[in-house]
Symmetry: C2
Subunit: 327 residues, 2 copies
């Protein structure tokens, strides 16, 4: 494998000059530049990132922590991150934690060992204590899920308001018996969305009914089905479901269909996220659109900024209610 010394020798210059040509510095005379470029072509030389990275003490790799790659919610975010990263000569390492602390730690080690320059964490179940500790030495951003008092910069949406709007929409089209299919109260977004749900009900004088609030362990399709089974078993069945994730909503949809009831005539359903699939179901799903791509680009910009040593501010992005066939 050719290295920079061999190029220098072939071109009859010093390695410093070759390096300068490589990095596009303008202190090289065009005569020598051409000599060097010829030598590079001749020898088929490709500069080694290994040497460069060591010298520059950087890996040019960004870590993306997600709980599960199967949740399409993250896909658009990742695309956003990737585009910004690539444009700045960074690459991304996608890390699926399965919300498993051990796996998480393997990935944290990558940044400790200089294999990664920073982290964008999207895992709601991340070990926040470790993350805080890590954030003292390394560049870290939280995306979507965050912790207010951690001091770690984040980009997210206003979950409380989004949830409020979804529920208000259901109320406005005449529903009074509205169930909330929530995830796990450990997560901030879950608590915030529940608050929005409560606020909408209160504002319209609808009393809270605890039978109508369900929690699921995970945001998977099957969990939506299970939760919906419980709801269908209630003696006083709700006429509308607000699920905090499209996957849950799609599970609910499936279960309602299976029970012979009709959406939206018998039960209306609202989801959250506007994943691609929410448009492929029958009926299509009313949902809250998160600006996922944008969230990704912002997160990546924040992280790269932080890596460069700048201070970055938190960002709250706008959401949108998308009304489709399920309501």
């Amino acid at each position: 494998m050719t290295n920079i010394q061999q190029v220098a020798k072939q071109a009859g210059v010093s390695v410093a000059t070759v390096s300068r040509v490589l990095n596009g510095q303008n202190t090289v005379s065009s005569k020598t530049r051409i000599k060097v470029e010829d030598a590079i072509k001749n020898l088929n030389y490709e500069p080694s990132m290994l040497g460069r990275n060591l010298r520059n003490s950087e890996s040019r790799i960004l870590l993306i922590l997600i709980p599960s790659i199967s949740n399409p919610f993250y896909l658009e975010i990742i695309k956003g991150i990737e585009n910004v990263a690539l444009s700045q000569n960074y690459n991304i390492l996608l890390c699926e934690t399965d919300s498993n602390p051990e796996k998480e730690n393997i990935y944290f080690d990558l940044v400790r060992k200089k294999m990664a320059d920073g982290i964008i964490s999207m895992d709601p179940a991340v070990n926040i204590e470790t993350l805080k500790e890590l954030a003292e030495k390394y560049s870290i951003i939280q995306c979507s899920e965050y912790n207010v008092d951690s001091g770690i910069p984040y980009v997210t949406i206003d979950n409380e308001e989004a949830s409020y709007r979804a529920v208000k929409h259901l109320i406005q089209i005449g529903h009074k018996k509205i169930a909330l299919m929530n995830s796990d109260e450990r997560f901030l977004y879950s608590r915030q969305r529940e608050m929005g749900y409560q606020r909408a009900l209160e504002e319209h004088g609808i009393p809270l009914n605890n039978d109508y609030i369900l929690y699921t362990k995970h945001l998977g399709f099957e969990h939506g089905q299970q939760a919906m089974k419980k709801i269908l078993g209630l003696h006083d069945r709700p006429t509308a479901i607000f699920a905090v994730s499209d996957l849950l909503a799609i599970g609910a949809l499936k279960e309602i269909n299976a029970s012979g009831l009709h959406v939206p005539n018998d039960i209306a359903v609202v989801g959250f996220d506007k994943i691609d699939f929410s448009n492929m179901t029958n009926p299509t799903l009313t949902t809250i659109a998160q600006p996922m791509y944008k969230m990704g680009t912002v997160a990546a910009e924040m992280l790269i900024d932080k890596i460069r040593g700048n201070d970055v501010d938190n960002v709250i992005l706008n959401h949108e209610l998308v009304i489709r066939e399920s309501t």
Copy 2:
């Protein structure tokens, strides 16, 4: 940031000894080992992958080339790859090419620049000439889609046979007018699946009808919808659809539902891949299950083997017909 010299100094030994402790070599006396371990703990030392990688001329990163991260077909494969990779101390760089040669080239550069130790290509639209050239110098495996004469090792399934079985199933439950919703004939899997389709028809004395064979540009949901629209417009409508991808099939399903027809009573539908979502549709989708996770693990094992300098053989995995509500 502490380095190995500082640890050596603190422990009162040489860097070689520290390195030996780090790499678990057994030529270190337990007395010194303890000294070194104490120093490591004291100084909070973490070995730098940058130095190590340079010295070892490796990056411990594997490149995964996929056309689109949005196609769930790849997700399980990726999980398989990742598990094997992690267990062998490799990390994976997920690269979405969008079947765009420029983007592809950015990623190829990573291996040229030693930023990656090898490639698993899953992109049917990959530039095979470049890939072949690259394969002479670097370790490369093709997964799912492959090229017979490229000399690049691959892991895949028997597409012709799988397709044959899917169509035969449709024939056995009484269908004679069976449409094939194919992708692009440029791709080997596409040609192979068409051959399986033809063989099944021939074997049962059903004449080929070219109106029943459609091609789509991409494997997306919308392309399935569009193709289905065309099919529904035929004066002699088929009674069954075999789509070469679940996403296409789901698009078809949606379109059939929208037109007021019933699946499977009016039109039966078979997909391909058994992605998670194929079980969430209404009705659930009959499909060919590819052993995606297994395919991933095998691909990763092959690649790591190749990186180690061993020769590897091609692998053909088994598929399975999963009969569900849509037929």
